[in-house]
Every structure is written in C-alpha cells, then in structure tokens.
C-alpha cells in the first residue's frame, strides 16, 4: 500500500509562504511527477512528505494515517537525492545494505535482498567497488538500490537524473519506468526536465509559486492545459501566445480576430464573449507551412535546423509577440525570407483575461486510448 493524501499543506519559512495550501491525492502504485519553475517549492514539498522538513500546517496522510510528526523511516518512504548522497567510504554493497543494517537484519537475509536489488539494477558486478569508481549512472542506480531494499511504500525522487548527461538520462529514464512497473510502488518524482515528466508520469502536478497550477496525465496537460501558465510551461519550444479579440460565438466554437485574420476555435464558450480580449495559444509543432484556418505571413529572423526538425523564430511586430514554428527537418525556408504559415483551428487553445483556458472541443487519439481501433495498429 502506498496511498498519499496532502490536505491544506502549508509551509512557511519565517513569514515567507513557500507552499500555499496544497491538496493532492496519490493512489497506490501511481507515478506522480512534480514540475514547476525553479523555486516554486517542489523540493520543499517532497521533503515535507519525506519528513525531512517540518510541515507548518495541514495534514500529510499516508495509508490513512497522519504522519506529520513521524520520522521518515516510520512513514514507509524512501528518498533518492539529486546528489545521490552515497557514502563515499562504503562499498556499493554496504551502501545498498545501509538501511537494512540500520534495522539489524540478519546477515543472510540482508545479503539476499541486496543482491536481488543489485540484480534488478545491473549492479551485480560492482558490489565491491566504492562509489568513487562508478560512473554517474551507476551511482544513481546505487542510490536507487538503497531505496529499493527497504521496500518502502512510497519512493521519493528529487531530480535524480539532473546530474547525468543527455544519453545517460535517456537510458535511466527507461530503466526507472521499467522499475516502476516491476515494483508497482508509488513514486513521487521531482524534475525540471519536460521529457522526463511527460514520459514517466502517470500524473503530472504542475506547481507554480507554491500552488498547484494543474494536475493531470501528461497528455492531458499537453492538450488541455488549464491555464496560460501550464500551457506555456508544458511543451518545448514554448507555446505561442497571440492576443486576439473575440468577435462572436457559434456552434463550432468561438470566433476570434487576430490583426484582421479570423478563425473559429472549437472551444466551449463561457459567459458573454464578444469584444473580450483573449489569448490564443498554439504550439510551435502545430504551425505548418501553407495556408490553414488561420494563416499568417511571417519573416523568420532565426532558423534553427536540428536535422529532424527546423525551428523558425519570427517576430509578429508587437513587443514580445514572438512566434515560433517547429517544421519538418527538410523544409525549404530561409531566414529573413517571408513564409506563409498556417494553423489549424482544432490545434488552437484559447484563454480568457485571467489566463484560464476554455475547454477544447476536440478528440485526441493519443489522449483517449479508447478512440484507437486496436486492429489498425
């Protein structure tokens, strides 16, 4: 069992409110990822769940039991630190065995457990080495091994891969996902890395300035961000935002005008709409060359050719109104030459003055698997 419930969790440092009443439920076996800009309180929240930092107010409940005043070990959690926190003077074996030694497990049982963990993590050959002799990825695995042997109900990870290089990070990501499936434990994971969040999470919690901006499955956040913050935060390159004016509402959605170009966005209208200044959001990967529902002619100032894609940056004239398009790798465009770009209305997001999204009226196959016809695949 590894159920976690946070209710009205607050954290103050002096008079500075770092977390402003967090409400969250995590199911047993779920893989939850916390993302958010630097300083938004991710680590703090994780450390409060772990019992390393004190909770100023609110309840942290694990498996129905309030644990606010319990030390970490009694909470049934294990934590993997960003810096690995390996003990440099102990062998890999001893590092992994550490929690078991603490609880004075008999030697033979301990050995079996450590070796089992080592096998899962492909560390069998390294057990006698010191952490100093290991590569970054191996060290990371030792840290995970130390967490595994305790068989905790909940694993906590604070940016565990951020010290690794890109290739290693990709490998470890996949290994962690496998591990999650293997152990079926609840995992809570803090990261800066979008790809990690998108690929590993069952559910992503987006934090902004000490508050939860949105909670949801990765693609839910991608396709249906609840507000401008989440829309801008999830997805890379960042979503383009255009100031538009609502000209009317009809069955197909909301009609908006951007500098004389109009489009009908298939979203659910809310209240009186006409005349209001809204924000239209469109992801760079949904901008195409050639005309579409909303067609804009732009002059890209920078073209980044990455091989697989070409990313074009243009200014739409207005201050800060930058416009970015992610186009196919072999697209024939050049910097400082005009291009016709089109956006499909169905790909657009619409936000009101407060940044709250209007619900989109589109079906997304990647979001709702039931839409797939398995036979097709």
């Amino acid at each position: 069992m590894g159920q976690l419930k946070l209710s009205k969790v607050q954290k103050f440092y002096g008079t500075y409110e770092v977390l402003k009443g967090i409400e969250l439920e995590v199911q047993n076996g779920e893989f939850v990822v916390f993302v958010g800009p630097s300083g938004c309180g991710k680590s703090t929240l994780l450390r409060m769940i772990a019992g390393l930092d004190e909770t100023t107010a609110g309840d942290i409940v694990i498996d129905g039991k309030r644990v606010n005043d319990l030390p970490p070990v009694k909470r049934g959690i294990a934590m993997v630190f960003q810096s690995y926190a390996l003990y440099p003077h102990m062998s890999v074996f001893e590092n992994i065995a550490f929690p078991l030694r603490v609880e004075k497990m008999p030697e033979d049982k301990l050995k079996a457990r450590v070796e089992h963990a080592a096998r899962i993590l492909h560390l069998d050959q390294r057990l006698q080495q010191k952490p100093g002799m290991l590569s970054g990825g191996q060290r990371q695995r030792v840290a995970i091994g130390r967490a595994i042997v305790r068989e905790p109900k909940i694993f906590l990870f604070d940016e565990p891969l951020s010290n690794l290089d890109a290739a290693l990070r990709a490998d470890m990501r996949i290994e962690l996902a496998k591990l999650h499936r293997q152990l079926k434990a609840t995992m809570i994971y803090v990261t800066h890395d979008q790809v990690e969040a998108m690929t590993m999470a069952d559910r992503i919690v987006v934090l902004n300035a000490g508050e939860i901006a949105q909670t949801g499955a990765p693609l839910e956040l991608y396709h249906k961000p609840a507000n401008v913050f989440v829309a801008g935060f999830i997805g890379h390159p960042k979503m383009n935002f255009l100031p538009v004016v609502c000209t009317g509402v009809n069955d197909a959605g909301v009609e908006v005008d951007y500098r004389g170009h109009t489009a009908r966005i298939p979203v659910v209208p809310r209240g009186s709409m006409a005349g209001r200044t809204l924000t239209l959001g469109v992801r760079p990967e949904h901008v195409q060359t050639g005309a579409a529902d909303l067609t804009l002619t732009v002059t890209p100032s920078v073209i980044e050719r990455l091989g697989a894609h070409t990313v074009a940056y243009a200014s739409l004239g207005g201050e800060g109104e930058n416009y970015c398009a992610m186009l196919p790798g072999n697209i024939a465009i050049r910097a400082d030459q005009q291009v016709l770009t089109g956006i499909r209305a169905g790909d657009c997001h619409l936000f009101d003055e407060n940044g709250t999204a209007f619900e989109r009226r589109v079906k997304m196959t990647d979001l709702d698997m039931s839409l797939f016809d398995p036979a097709v695949a």
Partner: protein, 285 residues
C-alpha cells in the same frame, strides 16, 4: 615529470624574485634556529666570545652527547611528552568530534552563543587561571600525576579544535545525514557510520594540530601541577638545563633540537594533509 601549467611558468627574473622572497622569509623564520644550532655546537666556555662569528670555531657535537648525561631523564621526558600529547589528543578528539558535529549540523537556540563562548576560552591563557586551577586539580586529586597535565591541557585545546573541525564538517553534504535519517538511522548511528569516516581527513588535521599544541606548548601546567620527575614533559625537561649557577646553553639548544625532532618529522610526513585540511576549513568560514 609533467610540466607546470602554462600560467605557472616563470621567467628567470620571476624565479629569482620568488626564490629571493622565500629566502628572506625563511631567513627570518629560521635565523633563531641557526643561532640556536651554532650555540649548540660551541663549547660552553666559548659561547660568550666576541667578535661574533657565524661559524663556531672548533665547534663540535659534543653537547649532543653530554645532554643525555647531564639530564639523564631526557629520553623519558620526550616519551612523557609523546604520551601526554597522545592522551590529550585522544581526549580532545573524543570531546570535540561530537561537539563539532553538533555545531556544524544543528541549529538550536543558543548554538551561536555557545560557539562564541567556546572561542572565548581561547582568550584565557592558563596563566591567569593558575591559582583556581591548582585548587581544582587538588580537589580532584590529580596533582602529581599525568592527569595533572592532561586535564588542563585538554581544556585549552578544545576550542580551536572545535572551530577547525566544525568548518570541515560543514562541508560534508547535508544530504548524507538526511539519507541516513530517511533510512531510519539514529543520529548516533549516522554520526558513527557515516560522518566519522567521511570526516577522517579533517579529524586527522585536528589531531595533528592538537598533538603539536600539546607537545610543545604545555609548560605552565606541567610546572605547577606536577612535581614528579618521572612524569615531566619535554619543555620542563629542557628547563632542567638551567643549572644551579649557570644555564648550560649549548646542551639546552642541543636538547631542544633533539626534542622537537619527532614533531618536525611528524609535520614533514603530514604536511600535504595539513595544508589540504586547512584549505577545507578555509573554504567556508
């Protein structure tokens, strides 16, 4: 041999300047030892003669032989110094390691003030406290034992040891403690199994400095609190060369050189460690 980094490549005049600087500096540091050495080579009768001659005429190492004769217990004094310093160092470490850890890791009300209070102990040279200390030693019944020198010696070496070790321990990542804490290790277990082994280089530096502090500098306590010849440490032993009528200067100097030799050797072997350990302390202050 590998070449020095380009930035450390010196031109000839820079080299000359550096070596000249080092020479001047070391000349200042070592001049008294040169003087002392030259004294140790001169026969007592020729010590007081002018004009000054840098090289002793008909100098000899005679004093290095006679010193063992005129103060028969000298070897014992060196042993005592070693013994006392070893015990002092051990006691200091036992007391200081937990305290330094507490100061490095835990913030609690009064921790800053307490640390300052420890530092303040450095301000009292034992000389000022001699009489009350004597009474204390007597009521503890440790006069005229090794403890008479060990007990007060420890007290005045604690503060700087705490100071040094604390700065070292502050450099050990806090995550190591936290990881152990999360795994259910008690504070004590963490200290013993995690912090102690990692802090070993720092502890070594503290041990060396404490040892030397105790080896060379504990004079007044030994003098006042101990009367037994067989327990006397080196500095007191050296005082034995102050004869009844006249100081046997050449033997005194010879004995000084012999007496500090063990400590010099220790320093020589440990110097790499010493500078590195101090660096650790210096990074965070």
């Amino acid at each position: 041999m590998s070449q020095p980094a380009m930035i450390n490549r010196y031109r000839w005049y820079e080299l000359v300047g550096i070596y000249a600087g080092i020479f001047v500096f070391l000349a200042f540091i070592l001049a008294p030892f040169v003087e002392g050495f030259s004294v140790s080579l001169k026969p007592l009768g020729l010590l007081f003669s002018s004009p000054y001659r840098f090289w002793p005429e008909n100098g000899s190492f005679e004093a290095y032989r006679t010193m063992w004769v005129s103060v028969p217990g000298f070897a014992r004094y060196i042993f005592n110094s070693f013994f006392i310093s070893t015990i002092v160092t051990a006691v200091v470490l036992v007391l200081v390691v937990p305290s330094a850890y507490a100061f490095a890791r835990f913030q609690f009300r009064g921790s800053g003030a307490l640390l300052a209070a420890f530092l303040a102990v450095n301000m009292f040279s034992g000389a000022v406290l001699l009489i009350p200390l004597f009474r204390l030693m007597r009521s503890m019944g440790v006069l005229n034992t090794y403890f008479a020198m060990i007990v007060p010696g420890v007290a005045f070496l604690i503060p700087s040891a705490i100071w040094l070790l604390r700065t070292y321990m502050m450099r050990i990542p806090r995550e190591l403690d936290e990881a152990a804490f999360v795994d259910g290790a008690s504070h004590f277990y963490t200290l013993r199994r995690v912090i102690l082994p990692i802090a070993m280089p720092g502890i070594t530096v503290v041990a060396i400095t404490t040892f030397i502090g105790s080896y060379a500098q504990q004079f007044i306590f030994a003098l006042t609190f101990n009367s037994k010849t067989e327990y006397m440490p080196l500095p007191i032993g050296l005082y034995a060369y102050f004869g009844r009528q006249e100081v046997i200067w050449n033997e005194l100097m010879a004995a000084s050189f012999v007496g500090i030799a063990p400590a010099v050797i220790l320093i020589f072997l440990m110097q790499r460690y010493l500078v590195a350990g101090l660096t650790a302390g210096a990074v965070k202050q």
